[in-house]
Symmetry: C2
Subunit: 241 residues, 2 copies
Amino acid sequence: MVSGEARKVDDASVALAVSTVIFALRQDEASGLATVWLPLVRRIREPFDGQWALPGGPLGAAEDLATAARRTLGETTGLTPGYLEQLYAFGDVDRSPGPRVVSIVYWALVQSEEAQRASVGENVQWFPADDLPALAFDHNLIVDYALWRLRNKMEYSRIAHAFLGETFTLTQLREVHEAVRGRALDPANFRRSIEGSDAVVATDQRVTGTRHRPARLFRYNTSIDLADQGPLSRLNERKEP
Amino acid sequence: MVSGEARKVDDASVALAVSTVIFALRQDEASGLATVWLPLVRRIREPFDGQWALPGGPLGAAEDLATAARRTLGETTGLTPGYLEQLYAFGDVDRSPGPRVVSIVYWALVQSEEAQRASVGENVQWFPADDLPALAFDHNLIVDYALWRLRNKMEYSRIAHAFLGETFTLTQLREVHEAVRGRALDPANFRRSIEGSDAVVATDQRVTGTRHRPARLFRYNTSIDLADQGPLSRLNERKEP
DNA sequence: TCAAAAGTGTTAGACGTACACCCATGG
DNA sequence: CCATGGGTGTACGTCTAACACTTTTGA
């Protein structure tokens, strides 16, 4: 609560940080199917020196939480997310050795094209979300929870387009759902459920050059809002006009 | 993120607090139907001196977030919640005049009996959740969001029992759903959906003394876990054995 | 015996799933 | 003309909502 002035003495001992779990889709080399991947950053100091961790950093004094998430993930990975949402605040006393840190964690989706442009090197690397090494701090738990949220939300919300470009075929959209939910979906039924939900609008463009009937391109329907965060959308709208 | 040591200089200017939105059911005087109410605390200093606000306080240095929520709501209202879950972290720069405060907000459910025992006085008072005065800070938005979460969660999760005592009739359980969701439910269909879900187990006790057929008493089925927070349940289980 | 709520049965429609089938294109 | 994925039709099982009906108590 914001009850009067919080005692500075106590608070000074608790640091506040913002981290982000970033998801993108990548083709699996072996199977050719798309799967969920995420970029991690190598720690270059104790604790957990040398281990992989989520990108993030301290909260700036004049910076909203989501802004800090966007900034820190941009600084470390060079990415710009198409979707960003708060995940959870992790604040257990023993979650970090040394001085106490409360982390407010966000999760983000980036387009596959954008993901390839991302800086990769000695200290930034992509990993398959379902097969991670042991991460620093409680970051394995955090990624597990973010993945759970992503998979849940994919079923009832319209966020899949954040993995794709401006226009896309229904097959591409279906492949996003299949990658995240981890199983094949019936193309016919998928088509009907999407078209019936007003989630997308048809363009008059088609994809030519394929060895089969050309597919129609669709666009995300921005005139219908997500309404999947309830009253909070009021808060976020103000910031992103 | 917990990336190295957060810059203390910046962080010192951001205070961290924990607040809680507490829900209980009360009979509406006029209609006799149960509705959702919550206790608020009157502020006794600037900013927003005299206005109503959510109970809460600063985070103790050696205290988990949920523990802080439990403690502060107990200190201000005397209540002990049957259900407690993190809601959201509010941290906009301009959400509070004066020094910046980031609030990690929880929401809680308490039994109706327990709610009556709660301290009420000059500085603590119950309000109907759907008809609140103008609250301090962004607390109106916070309550709206908590209500939205409560109503959503009531539809797919098994939290209704947290409003009731150890044993209850299916009619009492249905009235909880009706109060939160704001509409009447078919008793026959409600019975079947609950009994088919394994959410409750029948006792061999019945409620006598009524002017009609005695109703069977049920108990909440603790052997099935909620599984509505995904991997996070791991985290919470450790704390509440 | 009557009112009132407990509890059971039945049905019509909505919806999800499976799968057969036709269409349009490049090779 | 054939292989390939785009796109349509349809039928069946499950779930949901509505409501008629029987049961058991106290007054």
